[in-house]
Amino acid sequence: MLSIFSKRPCIKCFSETSKILLRCSSQTATSTIERNKDQLKRQIVEYRHVYPEFLPDPKIEYRNLIREKLERADMVARRTQVDIPEFYVGSILAVTSSDRHNPEKPHRFVGICIKREYCGLRASFIVRNMIDHQGIEIMYNMYDPTIHKVEVLRLEKRLDDELLYLRDALPEYSTFDSNMDAEILPEGTPVPINPIKVKLKPRPWLERWERKNLKGIEELDLPERFFKRAKELEKPWEKYDLMKEYMRTIPEEEQIEIFSEVQAELHKLEVQRKKMKRKRVIVKPSKLA
């Protein structure tokens, strides 16, 4: 009898401590899970810069959840066939596509990306270069089956979201060597921003650039009345319109839903691309030797 009594409190003690331990372990487990979830969330949310065309047009009359979903599936399927790397407006690209007038020979065009527009399967980008003193721009549909390859020769951003003003800039700002080699950035570095300021040609221009509040152009040599008019047409209150801002974006919850649907596939493609990059790095010196 005595022995049993003496044992009982011990058992109790043990059970209590084990309970506390269990609770602690469960707490730590839940906290780590939450931390992982947060990290994943942050990663997924960062996808919006790399793959902006996966987000639908926020205009309510163009929304159609089923079409968007189908388009996303098609886009991922196309990406498994053609490697479309991460690039931004201001990056220098080399796009190889087949020409229907010359089916044997694929056409390679090197230039600077001056605009990215539209979303879903309609996503497109404009590449610009000077060839024989003539400005050439080609608009490529990103998911066009005639595109063979998209290479990023220099990965960088500019100060503006659109570089359409290069059309009115001096030709040296949109001249790129078509035999340029790809510049490889070390892994894990953030995308560099090129702070270059472009000098525009004298008027007449294609657009009134002084009204666009551009950061990437040098100070304009214009009469005072142009700036006066630009000042009159400014809409400084528009940045305070919270609902307009809301209607131009996709809310975070929706973005997470969209990207978590395609995240696994996109991640796989990224890993594959990294492997290919490493291979290329190893191959290079053997070629030189």
């Binding site: 987000l55 979303c119 919270l242 609902m243 974006t249 996709i250 975070e252």
Partner: protein, 215 residues
């Protein structure tokens, strides 16, 4: 079909968002429209419940929701959020209220932060639709009737009937008891002194039971 803007992240609003914004025609143009809405949002944050015309209330509601959701999301150390609060709250002491009172209050809300209730219009009078716009968790008494009890619901009808039957049964028992006592009194003429006491006790019992049942 253009691309969505990705420079700023916003939380999803928990109210329905109108497909189009109202214009509120104004001699000062779109700036005047924002000025109007700004006054309404300031009044809402200040008084927590306001009565106004329906279109303005519906529009101001979305702006108030956006302001509060940004305050919760980014906090008072975020520069652009602070600028927004500075613009939208005309009375500057309310900026403190937004970040220190409302943001903690609505932190864990899964529903909208505001409530919009249609109000009756004065008759006779202008025919504008009226509405009451209020922040949730305000200190005022509720505007909605208490819907937790409805005597026409079937289970309430049945319970009421059961109560009635129980009461009738009890009354019958008590009446039978009184009858029994009276007959005993009629037989026993010698013990007259006890009778009034007994009667009083019975009466008290009846009162007690009836009050209990009513409760």
């Amino acid at each position: 079909m253009n691309q969505a803007e990705v420079s700023k992240l916003v939380s999803q609003l928990k109210t329905t968002v109108n497909p189009r914004l109202r214009k509120f025609r104004n001699p000062e143009g779109p700036e005047g429209r924002l000025d109007k809405l700004r006054k309404t949002v300031t009044a809402l944050i200040k008084h927590e419940r306001i009565e106004l015309n329906y279109p303005r209330a519906d529009e101001a509601r979305m702006y108030a929701e956006r302001l509060i959701s940004d305050a919760i999301r980014y906090g008072d150390t975020h520069k652009t959020t602070m600028e927004m609060a500075d613009y939208w709250l005309v009375e500057k002491q309310l900026i403190h209220k937004l970040f220190k009172v409302l943001a903690p209050r609505f932190q864990n809300y899964d529903i909208s932060y505001t409530r919009l209730i249609r109000a009756p219009r004065p008759y006779p009078g202008p025919e504008d639709l009226k509405a009451v716009l209020e922040l949730r968790g305000n200190p005022y008494p509720s505007l909605r009737p208490n819907g937790s009890y409805n005597r026409n619901l079937i289970h309430n009808v049945l319970l009421e009937e059961a109560k009635k039957a129980y009461r009738a049964k009890k009354y019958a028992e008590i009446a039978a008891k009184i009858d029994a006592v009276e007959t005993a009194v009629g037989l026993n003429t010698n013990s007259q002194t006890d009778v009034p006491e007994n009667d009083e006790v019975v009466a008290k019992e009846v009162e007690d039971k009836s009050t209990k049942e009513e409760k």
